[in-house]
C-alpha cells in the first residue's frame, strides 16, 4: 500500500477558537497520481491544504514525505521540501514582472540575475504554451494567464507534490484543457498532484483517486472507478440524495407560455464593458438565464441591467413603463436585485455582522435618514437566517467567518428582503458546496413559483438546464441565440455557443 508513497498524513488535528477544523484526518498521495480532495465548504479541505503548505501549523499528527517525518513551519519550508501550491485566488505579486513571479523566494542567491531569469522564464513559458512575456508586468496579463504563470512557477520548481486549490474556477474550457494536459504531463514525470475543485466533471476527467472529507473528518479514500458521481455526492453530503429529480419535476410547472407585458424589458442595452447592444425581456414568474463561455459577456449583460457598469445606450421598460437605470440604486428602486458573480469582492461586507449584511440593501433603499431600529433589523435577520437555514453562531457574527455557502445565503437573504420583482443571480453556486447548491436551485424555483422573475447564471450547464425555461446564449460579448422548450439540451447549447449552424 505504501509502496510508491510520496506523502502520508496521519491523524492530523487542527482547531481554531470554537471550531474543530480537522479531526484525525489521514491522507495518502503516491507518485504520479492525481488525487482529488473533495468535500463541502467547511469540510476542512482548505485547512488541510494550509497545514500542508505551512500556512497553519497542525495541532497534532504526522506528515511524512518520501517516508520521512517532516515539520512544515512556513510556505518557504513547504517549497523547499517540494510542495508547491496554486491557489484559486492569484497569489502572485501584480507589481512584479512575470519572470520575477516565477523565481522570487526560491533561491538563497543574494544577487538577482535578470538576464538568466528572463531567459529561463521565457523557455518555461514557451514549453508550457503560456502566452506571456517574461519581462511583462504581471498585472498586465489576464487572470487566466496569471493562473498559468503560478502553475509554471510550481512546475519549474521541480516539485514533488503539486497542490491545485480550485485553479479552474476562473478558466474557460480551453484553458482548463490546457491545464489538464499539463497535469497529465506532470503525472508522467512522477509528480503527485492534489486537486481540489467543485466541478465533478473535472474530477472524473483527470483524477485517479478521491479522498472525501466531511465536517473536518475523513470519510474515505476511493479509486475513481469505484465511486460513481451520485455516491460521491452522497458521501460529501452525508446523506442519500434524490433532490435532483425533485428539481426537475418542479420546473415543469413553471414552463408555460403567456403574452403578458414583461416585468423587465431592455432594448439596445450596452455598457462601458464592451458588450454589444442587446435586447432582453423577462416575464412574471419566469426563470431565464444567460449562458456562454467565461468572458462571453454574460455577467456584463446582467451588470448592465442592474446598472452596475456605466450604461451607455439603450432604453429600459419596467412593467411597460420607460424607466432610467444608471446606477444600482435606480435598479433597486425599480424592484431589481442582483447577486454578483464574485462573492468576496462584490458581495459580502466582510467585517460587518450577518445582520448588517442582510439588511444592507433594504436599508439603502429606505434611505439615509431612516435607519432600521435594532429590533427590526434583528427580526429581519433572524427570519431569513431561519428561512434559508444559514449556519451562523448568531446574527452578530461577522459574515467573513461563515463558510462560502452560508455567506452566499446571506447575500440571497439580503436581496430577498428587498422583495424584488426581478432577481438576478450571477453564479450563485460558484465555489460553494453541493448541498447549498441544491438549496439555492430549489429556492429559485420556489420563488419563481411565487411570481418572482429570476435570471440565473451558472457555469454548470446542468444547473441551468434544471432551473431555466429560457436561455440566452452569448458569444464574444454578443447575444447569439435564444433557446427554450425542447431546445434546452446540453448538445443544443454547446452547438449554439460554438456557432456551428445558422442561428435564429
Amino acid at each position: 500500500m505504501s509502496e510508491n508513497a510520496l506523502l502520508e498524513l496521519r491523524g492530523i488535528y487542527k482547531s481554531f477558537p470554537g471550531v474543530k477544523a480537522l479531526q484525525n484526518v489521514d491522507f495518502n498521495l503516491r507518485k504520479g497520481e492525481i488525487h482529488a480532495l473533495m468535500g463541502e465548504n467547511g469540510a476542512g479541505k482548505s485547512t488541510l491544504i494550509k497545514v500542508l503548505t505551512g500556512v497553519y501549523t497542525k495541532d497534532e499528527g504526522d506528515i511524512r514525505l518520501d517516508g520521512q517525518n517532516v515539520t512544515i513551519r512556513s510556505p518557504q519550508d513547504a517549497q523547499h521540501m517540494g510542495i508547491s501550491t496554486v491557489y484559486q485566488e492569484i497569489t502572485l505579486c501584480p507589481n512584479l514582472s512575470v519572470a520575477e513571479n516565477m523565481y522570487i523566494g526560491r533561491s538563497d542567491n543574494i544577487i538577482q540575475n535578470w538576464k538568466g531569469m528572463f531567459e529561463g522564464a521565457d523557455k518555461m513559458l514557451k514549453s508550457l504554451d503560456i502566452p506571456a512575456e517574461a519581462s511583462a508586468q504581471l498585472a498586465s496579463c489576464s487572470i487566466a494567464v496569471q493562473q498559468m504563470v503560478a502553475i509554471a512557477r510550481a512546475v519549474d520548481m521541480d516539485c514533488k507534490v503539486l497542490i491545485l486549490d480550485e485553479p479552474t474556477s476562473s478558466l474557460d474550457d480551453q484553458e482548463v484543457q490546457k491545464l489538464f494536459k499539463l497535469m497529465r504531463d506532470l503525472k508522467e514525470r512522477g509528480v503527485g498532484i492534489i486537486f481540489v475543485t467543485h466541478f465533478l466533471d473535472q474530477v472524473y476527467e483527470v483524477c485517479d483517486k478521491i479522498t472525501v472529507l466531511r465536517d473536518g473528518k475523513l470519510v474515505g479514500e476511493y479509486p475513481i472507478k469505484d465511486l460513481p458521481r451520485v455516491e460521491l455526492v452522497s458521501k460529501m453530503l452525508g446523506k442519500e440524495l434524490d433532490d435532483m429529480s425533485e428539481i426537475k419535476t418542479e420546473k415543469k410547472d413553471t414552463d408555460k407560455e403567456d403574452d403578458s407585458t414583461p416585468v423587465y424589458e431592455a432594448e439596445g442595452l450596452a455598457s462601458t464593458e464592451g458588450i454589444k447592444p442587446f435586447n432582453f425581456y423577462i416575464k412574471k414568474g419566469e426563470v431565464n438565464g444567460f449562458t456562454g463561455l467565461l468572458g462571453s459577456g454574460r455577467s456584463e449583460c446582467v451588470r448592465a441591467i442592474f446598472g452596475a457598469d456605466r450604461v451607455i445606450s439603450g432604453s429600459v421598460k419596467k412593467n411597460g413603463k420607460t424607466v432610467k437605470i444608471q446606477k444600482p440604486i435606480d435598479a433597486m428602486k425599480n424592484g431589481i436585485a442582483y447577486l454578483p458573480e464574485d462573492r468576496k469582492v462584490d458581495g459580502i461586507v466582510g467585517d460587518l455582522s450577518v445582520r448588517e449584511n442582510i439588511i444592507l440593501a433594504l436599508q439603502v433603499m429606505k434611505g439615509f435618514f431612516k435607519p432600521l431600529s435594532k429590533a427590526e433589523a434583528n427580526a429581519f435577520a433572524n427570519e431569513y437566517i431561519d428561512m434559508l437555514k444559514i449556519k451562523t453562531a448568531s446574527a452578530d457574527t461577522p459574515i467573513k467567518s461563515l463558510s462560502g455557502g452560508n455567506q452566499q445565503k446571506c447575500i440571497v437573504a439580503r436581496w430577498l428582503l428587498t422583495h424584488p420583482e426581478y432577481l438576478i443571480l450571477d453564479e450563485p453556486t460558484r465555489g460553494i458546496d453541493v448541498g447549498t447548491k441544491v438549496d439555492i436551485q430549489k429556492l429559485v424555483l420556489k420563488l419563481a413559483g411565487e411570481g418572482m422573475s429570476i435570471t440565473f447564471i451558472s457555469s454548470e450547464t446542468d444547473e441551468m438546464l434544471r432551473t431555466c425555461s429560457r436561455l440566452i446564449v452569448m458569444r464574444d460579448r454578443k447575444v447569439v441565440g435564444e433557446l427554450k422548450g425542447d431546445e434546452l439540451t446540453q448538445s443544443k447549447i454547446m452547438s449554439t455557443i460554438a456557432g456551428g449552424e445558422g442561428q435564429s
Partner: protein, 370 residues
C-alpha cells in the same frame, strides 16, 4: 462608438485636472497681484537698465513670529522699495538657521549686490559668510549679532544694545522700589526669549547681574517662553502653580510673551500691577509694541523698554554710503526709548548716562508707527 462614449469620463477628469491646476495658477497670479513690488521691480529694471541698474538686495529675515519682527520687516521692505531704485529679494526663514543659510547661498548664487541678515542665532555663520566674501558680496548684519572668528566676513552691524535695555529696566525697578520704600525680599521670575538669541543673552544677563549685585532681589526661576504668546502663557501657568503668590516681579523678555504671561496671571486668579505689597504681580517687558504699550497704559506692564524695530531707514542709509564708497562704522547702536504709565520715575541712570523714561499716554501710542 465605444470610444466616443468614453469621453464624458475623460472630460470630467480633464476638467478636474484643469480645475486643480487652475487653483494652483490662481495662487500664482494672486501672488503677482499681491506682490506688486515684485512685478514693479521687474518693470523698473527694464526701464532703468539703460540708465542705472537697480541695486539688488537679499534680505534674510528670521521669521514673522511677533509684531516686532513684522514691524521690522515692513520697515526694511519700505526702505528698499522699487521706487527707491532697489530690487529686494526677501526670505522668511521661519525660525530656522538652516533656512537662513540656504537663503544666503541662494542670494550668492543669484549674484545680489548686498545681503542683509538678521541672524537667528549668533554662531554658525563662518562658512556661509566667507562664501559671500568670496563672491564679493558685502553682508550687513542687523538686530542680532553674528559671532565669527574673522569679523571682516561682514561689512557692519547695527542693532540694539540688549544688555543696556535690560540694565535700564533693572535700574527702573530698583529706582521704583526705593521710591516706594520697599526693601524686603523681591522674588523675580525671568521669562526668557529663545535661548541663544542676542536679545535673550543681553536681557537675561542684565537681570542676572542686577540680582547678583542686589541685596534683596532673588531670581526664583528662569525659563524660556521662546518669544511666543502661547509658550509664554504655558510657562507662566506652570510657574504660577509652583510659586503662587511668592512671585513679585515677572521680567518678560518680550511683549508677545508678556500677553501670555498676563493672561496666565489673570486666569490663575492673580492680579497684575505695581502694588506688589498688595499681592499684585509686577510685570516688566521689552519691545514696546503697540499691544505692549496698550498694556503698559493699562498698568498691566509696569515698564516697557523699547527695542526699535525700524531699521529700514538706517540700513538704506548704510547701503547708500557703501554704494558711494564711504567708510562706515563697524558697529552702531540704534536709539531706543522706555515707556511707563506708573509715572514715578522720569529717567534712569546707567553707567553715568541718563536715559529718559517717557510717561505713556494714548496719544503717544496713536502717533507711533507700529
Amino acid at each position: 462608438m465605444i470610444v466616443k462614449n468614453h469621453k464624458p469620463k475623460k472630460i470630467i477628469e480633464l476638467i478636474m485636472l484643469l480645475l486643480i491646476s487652475g487653483v494652483v495658477l490662481c495662487g500664482c497670479t494672486g501672488s503677482a497681484g499681491n506682490n506688486k513690488e515684485g512685478t514693479d521691480a521687474k518693470n523698473i529694471k527694464r526701464e532703468k537698465s539703460s540708465a542705472s541698474q537697480p541695486v539688488t538686495i537679499g534680505l534674510s529675515q528670521i521669521g514673522s513670529e511677533s509684531d516686532w519682527r513684522m514691524a521690522s520687516t515692513e520697515s526694511v521692505k519700505a526702505a528698499f522699495s522699487s521706487g527707491a531704485g532697489y530690487n529686494l529679494i526677501f526670505d522668511d526663514a521661519q525660525q530656522k538657521q538652516e533656512n537662513q543659510l540656504k537663503a544666503i547661498r541662494e542670494f550668492i548664487d543669484q549674484g545680489v549686490d548686498y545681503i542683509i541678515l538678521d541672524p537667528i542665532v549668533e554662531t554658525g555663520w563662518d562658512s556661509v559668510l566667507s562664501e559671500a566674501k568670496e563672491a564679493g558680496i558685502p553682508v550687513i548684519v542687523y538686530d542680532r549679532r553674528v559671532d565669527v572668528a574673522d569679523d571682516s566676513l561682514y561689512a557692519c552691524w547695527i542693532g540694539s544694545d540688549f544688555y543696556l535695555e535690560g540694565k535700564r529696566t533693572c535700574m527702573w525697578l530698583s529706582d521704583f522700589f526705593s521710591d516706594r520704600g520697599i526693601d524686603h525680599n523681591i522674588n523675580i521670575i525671568n521669562i526668557q526669549g529663545t535661548m541663544g538669541a542676542t536679545a535673550q543673552i543681553g536681557r537675561s544677563k542684565a537681570i542676572e547681574d542686577a540680582v547678583y549685585h542686589s541685596r534683596n532681589w532673588r531670581l526664583l526661576a528662569q525659563e524660556s517662553g521662546e518669544y511666543t504668546t502661547a509658550k509664554g502663557k504655558e510657562v507662566m501657568k506652570k510657574l504660577l502653580a509652583k510659586y503662587g503668590e511668592n512671585i513679585d516681579v515677572v521680567y518678560v523678555e518680550n511683549d508677545n510673551m508678556a500677553y501670555g504671561v498676563i493672561d496666565a496671571i489673570r486666569e490663575s486668579g492673580y492680579v497684575t500691577g505695581a502694588d506688589i505689597d498688595k499681592g499684585e504681580i509686577l510685570v516688566v517687558s521689552f519691545d514696546a509694541t503697540h499691544n505692549g504699550l496698550q498694556l503698559t497704559l493699562d498698568g498691566a506692564i509696569a515698564v516697557d523698554t523699547e527695542c526699535n524695530p525700524l531699521y529700514g531707514p538706517r540700513l538704506a542709509e548704510m547701503v547708500e554710503m557703501m554704494e558711494a564708497g564711504e567708510d562706515i562704522e563697524k558697529e552702531t547702536y540704534i536709539e531706543e526709548d522706555q515707556f511707563s504709565a506708573v509715572g514715578y520715575i522720569a529717567s534712569v541712570n546707567v553707567e553715568d548716562t541718563e536715559y529718559p523714561v517717557t510717561y505713556l499716554t494714548s496719544k503717544i501710542i496713536d502717533e507711533r508707527a507700529y
